[in-house]
Symmetry: C2
Subunit: 751 residues, 2 copies
């Protein structure tokens, strides 16, 4: 019954999300044609050309990137298969009556490829929709804010619903297939499913890092020469790096983000399923076990429906009619979907789950038997609701810290009166401060979930936070689409008033992007913790074995806390380096191409696209190796306890660093927009564009770019990826000298 319901939901979602796409595109295509006839055909033609250039650049980058990833995926899946199968020496019969490791290796490798492919698909899908929509949004902006907003929002919606639906479908189909082939072997199925999360996350990592370096190298490079040196506006067609900048928005902020959130979604579901299977629901009643395991999928499916209903509010019932309404409208989306889903979650909890069931706590009693606690079905409602409402609180506070309608950003803008330095000091302090509330919220959610239903509760909280994923993705994707629309409007020379409208859409986009990142980080923390719990169990340790005050755990904790810093240093420096070569190319073109400043000769856009592409593909390798290599090296050499420390340390450290980086960057960007827009008396005192204050604000914005779009958002992949990778390889690590690692075996009896 639950299955049929999920299938029905998926079917409806799939149908509606396509419905949602079709009219949006039809409508805008019709409008596009209408425009072409009624208005200046030249502008439309230009917009089309620019759109085509951006689309070409994005497709060419992604194909190159995905080609490299294809090789990586193939090699890693073979590695995965070999390592996991080696656990019992490639035996086909298994040891101690357990199923052969060969089976787990094969399952995991297949799941890994499936996850990676879905992730690639998600990114590609998002990019196509975004490049499809950008010119349309710009053209719509000529009719008014409401029209432009609606188009951008719908395009975001297609991405949101498309991805959420795709993720759910793949998981569901995958599970059904495994069941159909391997029947009752629960453990094998759910263990292998973690491979799916690993595949999704590793693609997300490379996508986020590669895309992030691409977009910010182009953005910073374009701004440094264009805005600062040559004093031409952002996205000016005379700037050789401007196409690369717009391509970057699509490959980094759209494709990368799509892969990232798909990864979060896939992993939180995997985590819940694995925990339900490995350490979880030990009620002897088989049917209940099955139902409880499907509970996560049910919640996710309900979430998609809830978000869908909410989306109608923004698109049909109460769309934003003017600039001031954009941010409130987007915020309402979150509020409505959260409120709507709360009773639904309650109903699902009490109706689909047995009244009470037992769950393992991850510890054994003195006799070695696993300790279990009894969970009532409404406990699960509390866990999911904690995640759901926690996400809303994180989202709302993120808006407070990054929107220029509130004091923090305004204070930051005001600090430009004394120069760039105070702007940066205030911005950094703002970011640090913005980590307080989300951390407290996550701490409360963890306590609630952990106490009520152990790690299953934590995993369900993560799923709860991600129930509004479709909405989150929609309003997140809306940001870069508006950013691109602004670029198209500028390059197609649509005029100052159009640019003002797209700028306002974009300012709201900075805020929604920050909100999206808040969700991504919060859910990533919960998912990582759940995966971490599953890892400990699967590595044959009890929860109480990973004590902070263990000689092997504490050093791991320290090193783990350092990893996000190492990772950020790498990615930020990569952006800096790539931006420097971009700057040199742009300067070179301004010097050597005659007529470029007069607009009579076109700059060589392709060369800049090429520089970004090469730099990002080259620079994403080292951070990727760091993240993927650390669990393997630590687990193999130092053993399970040190790895557990590393995972926990990187989790708690990444959360803070990622939140503060994202919010600092968002705040600087909007402080700059606040000075530019001059909507209030105080803001006008700082402006206009080109004033000393504005220059200081631009410096802040530029510093914030790699923080908010490269390093920050990649950190939540770091924590998830390391956790899921450790989980996948847990049986292998456990087999090395009883989980103590080869180095200590080598060092001998030092202890």
């Amino acid at each position: 019954m639950a299955l049929a319901f999920a299938a029905l939901l998926w079917h409806r979602v799939a149908k509606v999300s396509l419905d949602d796409e079709a009219p949006a595109s039809d409508e805008s295509r019709a409008l596009l044609l209408e425009q072409a006839q009624r208005d200046d055909a030249e502008v439309v033609k230009k917009a089309r050309e620019i759109q085509a250039a951006i689309e070409d650049g994005a497709i060419s980058f992604l194909s190159t990137e995905y080609r490299y990833m294809g090789i990586f995926m193939a090699l890693f899946s073979i590695f995965l298969f070999l390592v996991l199968s080696s656990e019992d020496g490639f035996s086909t019969s298994g040891r101690d009556g357990r199923p052969p490791a060969l089976l787990n290796g094969a399952f995991s490798a297949i799941a890994f490829l499936l996850g990676a492919a879905t992730s690639v698909g998600s990114g590609y899908l998002g990019m196509r929709i975004a490049t499809f929509a950008n010119a349309r949004v710009a053209l719509e902006a000529r009719h008014g804010v409401a029209e432009a907003f609606m188009t951008a929002f719908r395009a975001g919606g297609v991405m949101g619903f498309g991805l959420a639906g795709l993720g759910l479908l793949m998981l569901f189909v995958g599970i059904c297939l495994f069941f159909a082939v391997f029947g009752s072997d629960y453990e094998g199925v759910y263990e292998a499913i973690t491979g799916y999360g690993l595949g999704g996350s590793s693609i997300a990592l490379f996508g986020r890092v590669g895309g992030g370096i691409y977009t910010k190298a182009a953005d910073v490079g374009a701004d440094l020469v264009g805005k600062v040196e040559q004093n031409i506006p952002e996205d000016d067609p005379r700037n050789p790096a401007t196409i690369a900048d717009n391509v970057g928005d699509n490959v980094g902020d759209i494709a990368g983000m799509g892969s990232d959130l798909f990864g979060s979604f896939a992993e939180s579901t995997c985590a819940a399923l694995v925990i339900a299977s490995v350490s979880g629901l030990c009620n002897p009643d088989f049917e209940h076990k099955w139902v409880a395991m499907q509970f996560p999928l049910l919640i996710s499916a309900a979430g998609i429906v809830g978000c869908l209903l909410t989306a109608f509010v923004a698109t049909d019932f109460r769309p934003a009619r003017n600039l001031q309404q954009i941010e409130p409208t987007l915020k309402m989306q979150l509020l409505i979907s959260t409120a709507l889903l709360t009773p639904v979650v309650y109903w699902l909890s009490v109706s689909s789950l047995p009244e009470s069931f037992d769950i393992h706590t991850g510890n054994a009693d003195a006799s070695g038997a696993l300790v279990a606690i009894t969970v009532k079905n409404w406990y699960m409602f509390l866990c999911v609701a904690a995640g759901l409402w926690g996400g809303l609180i994180i989202g709302v506070q993120t808006e407070y810290y990054t929107s220029n309608a509130y004091r923090p950003v305004q204070e930051c803008a005001d600090a430009t009166r004394t120069g760039a330095a105070t702007n940066i000091i205030f911005g950094l302090a703002l970011g640090y401060k913005s980590a307080i509330l989300p951390t407290l919220v996550i701490a409360v959610i963890v306590y609630t979930g952990f106490t009520l239903a152990s790690m299953f509760g934590v995993a369900c909280s993560a799923i709860g936070m991600l129930t509004t994923l479709a909405t989150g993705l929609a309003i997140d994707a809306y940001g870069p689409i508006s950013d691109n629309a602004g670029g198209v409007a500028e390059m197609a020379e649509m005029g100052e008033d159009i640019r003002e409208r797209t700028d306002a859409l974009d300012a709201a986009g900075n805020t929604t992007a920050a909100i999206g990142k808040g969700f991504a980080i919060g859910s990533a923390a919960l998912v990582s913790l759940a995966l971490f719990g599953a890892f400990v169990t699967r590595a044959n340790l009890g929860y109480s074995d990973v004590s902070i005050l263990d000689p092997k755990v504490f050093p791991g904790l320290l090193i783990g806390a350092m990893l996000p810093y190492w990772f950020s240093a790498m990615t930020m420096k990569s952006v800096g380096k790539a931006a420097l070569s971009m700057v040199e190319e742009v300067r070179h073109q301004f010097r050597t191409i005659p007529g470029i400043m007069e607009g009579t000769t076109k700059p060589d856009y392709k060369r800049c696209v090429q520089i970004s592409t090469e730099a990002s593909l080259q620079e994403m390798i080292a951070p990727g190796v760091l993240v993927m290599g650390t669990p393997l090296v630590v687990g193999t050499l130092f053993g399970i306890r040190t790895l557990a420390g590393v995972l926990a340390g990187s989790l708690v450290s990444s959360v803070q660093l990622a939140i503060s980086m994202s919010n600092t960057g968002g705040a600087w960007d909007n402080a700059k927009k606040y000075v530019e827009a001059g909507a209030t008396e105080a803001a006008r005192a700082l402006g206009p564009k080109g004033s000393e204050c504005h220059k200081a604000a631009v410096i802040g914005d530029t510093v914030g770019d790699p923080l908010k779009d490269t390093s920050g958002p990649a950190l939540n992949i770091l924590m998830k990826l390391m956790a899921v990778e450790s989980l996948v390889f847990a049986p292998f690590f456990a087999s090395l000298d009883g989980g103590n690692g080869l180095l200590f075996k080598f060092l001998g009896g030092a202890q």
Copy 2:
């Protein structure tokens, strides 16, 4: 015998350090007189005046600050007494045969006051020496680099040896007194000694934060108007904030730092003593226990002698004769003292400790008896040596990342070619990257100490790292003294060449200050861990009870990791706010005082000093309450396990943040100096002063100021203070609902 030896050492140290002071001051006083006759009497007179103004400002600030602290100390010691005595209901006979809590309360309160008073004394002493030396260094600079360097270094040495000696003496006298009065009640004595550390640390916190805000508000304020707006050089006498800026160096970087490192020293020794007593050396042979407990004091005493011998190398044997030799000479100090002390530590370990002894691991076996491991005496040598050499590695790598003789700072300076934004991106990345090696080093030390001798090993590693404390303090204090000397030279109009010399001294000072911070952070991490271990034991938990995967510990871990961000946000914003009001005052004076820019009218220095004083005293309250209040609130409401999580989380998070902040700030400062000095071809391409690149470098320097001198160095006090406070209040927390906290008792059976 050990006692007599320690006393002898102290006596020699005290004598020599006074000897050291006397000739330095006599010599320089003689030189000062000689100067006055031979050279321009006017310059000397001016220098004297400026010195007097700086000294007055510093004394007036410190007296105000210490008056407030006096009130705080009195109130807190009463609070401490009442809370600790309440454990057994103020009984005079004690419960279960243990000594009455009243005794512990009284001991702790007295020790707290003693520690606080010593800390105040340390800060005050350092400030007096520094203000005594600054004008002398500037005058010496007229004779040459070597003379100026020697004077600055000697003044630093007086502070280093004075403080290290004072700390050791106070501890020794305190212990002897307690023994004399209370005889054989070991446990009471050593428990109460933690109060000494708490007193030292809480003064250090307020000193660091208050002083840090003072110095940076004045510095940033002076630079923003002077250098950036009015285009007058740093420390120009026409700048109204310049005296406040120089006062700030003395109250923040000298007095604050003195209190801080005294705190580290006191706490590491306390930690070792407490661990040796509470959970530690369980050899039945009484005499060995006594000797082992004195081992930490012996090591510290040996360290002072070793540093003393090393200091002769710099002052007499091979002083720096030119600009290039300054940094290598200072670095050699560390290398020589480390190499010298290694065999001494070995000899002390094998001669003063029994060949092998037992030590508790902090865990109980199944029957509830404490588990003990056997420690050989050369294990202790390994622990101390790990700390000693680890400190050196951290110091050397800090030098690499912050000295402008190496690539990282040069790259950072080079990034100014594309503006302030890339300079800041590179600087942030540099700071993040510089956290990698120190973290790995600390992790290895923790593993070594923990494995060989449990928490006693970790505490001894901390002491090992601090054996070179006197040298560290000397080269650390050298920095702000040189900075001040530059200020005096500029204000007394000694000419460009003198300023160049003091600038070079100052550039080396930035590096040595960063090295000093590296030591402070590394040792603080080890000390905090040792105190944390002692806290867990004293709160009646085993080490294995604080599992990461405990529903109460993990949320604590998250919140703990967030605290340094919260704290930094507060302190950075305080600097920003105070700097803004300073900027307004300076602008106001430039506008309203006629003849100020021509140098015919003196600016109102006093008003700026007053603004800095008021701002810093007001702004230090909130961060102080956060740090001192958190353990009390968490321990009381949420219980011991959550508090344990908070301590561990803040430890691992603070280490990274503190290292990266200190090094980023140091690197920016030296990148600016690199551009200004123009010593190489590449540097000259960026300069001279006033060029676009230089302006970008100044922005980086200004952003770095609060990072490296306010927030960063205060973080190591944060971790130590929270740990030692938790330890002091541990019996109280343990008495609240069995250590589960009042909130959970109130919430009832939710679990």
